[in-house]
């Protein structure tokens, strides 16, 4: 199964909408609830990161018998040091983002914790790709 969603940077009222829709699909497929939770937490964190830190992006999900593969692509400022960004507590979130309840610097560590394979690529001034796989 193949799913695609668009994500608008800065639009907090819609942030997490795509993740909510994808969660519904995963539930309909009757996947293990523990696996679903890990996927949707990682997905939601990555979706909110696009809203909070980038201009626009898309989410592509591919589901087969053995795994769920998620790719989030954005056009945005990129991440100068992925190593630093992965540290718990590291955040460049704006005051507006903090007002929305984000900016703990826990998103990327949460994504790492909840995925089986994680690959982040980023080009400063262009954008970021977060690519992860969870096995079923």
């Amino acid at each position: 199964m193949h799913l695609e969603y668009k994500v608008q940077g800065g639009n907090f009222s819609k942030a997490g909408h795509a993740s909510g829709e994808i969660k519904k699909v995963l539930k309909q497929l009757n996947l293990n609830p523990m696996v679903i939770k890990r996927i949707v937490v990682a997905l939601y964190e990555a979706e909110v990161n696009i809203v909070a830190h980038a201009y626009e992006g898309d989410i592509i999900v591919d589901i087969d018998d053995s795994k769920v593969h998620v790719v989030l692509n954005d056009r945005g400022p990129g991440i100068p040091s992925i190593e630093r960004a992965m540290e718990k507590g590291y955040s460049t979130a704006s005051p507006l983002v903090r007002e929305m309840g984000f900016g703990a610097g826990m998103g990327l560590p949460n994504i790492k914790k909840n995925t089986d394979e994680l690959n982040i690529k980023s080009v400063v001034g262009e954008g970021t790709t977060v690519d992860f796989i969870n096995y079923l």
């Binding site: 009222s13 993740s19 909510g20 998103g107």
Partner: protein, 114 residues
Amino acid sequence: MIVKDIVTLLDAHYVNNSGLENENYDVAFASDLMSDVLTIDIPNVLLITGLANIQTIRTADMAEIKCIVLGRNKKATPEMIELAQENEITIIECAYSLFHICGLLYNEGIDPLY
């Protein structure tokens, strides 16, 4: 402690009741930062928060949290209530500060998550 008794103890009220009145909670977590909430990896945790926006409900949905206490007299917005209804999440509004809420619940034997 069951939800009904939590509502009484906190002098609070339901803004969305998803039928959890008799559900028991032994563990609670208080935060205004949603990524902190998303570190929760056990089921049946009561969330206490002063953040009242749509992300509160989205986060609860993703983290499988079924009951939220909104402290500091924060009001749930209509879109929060709508999403909570859709996902069967109970929202309780309470005028007390988070510290006050946590103190009362701790006193009744509700444990911290961490």
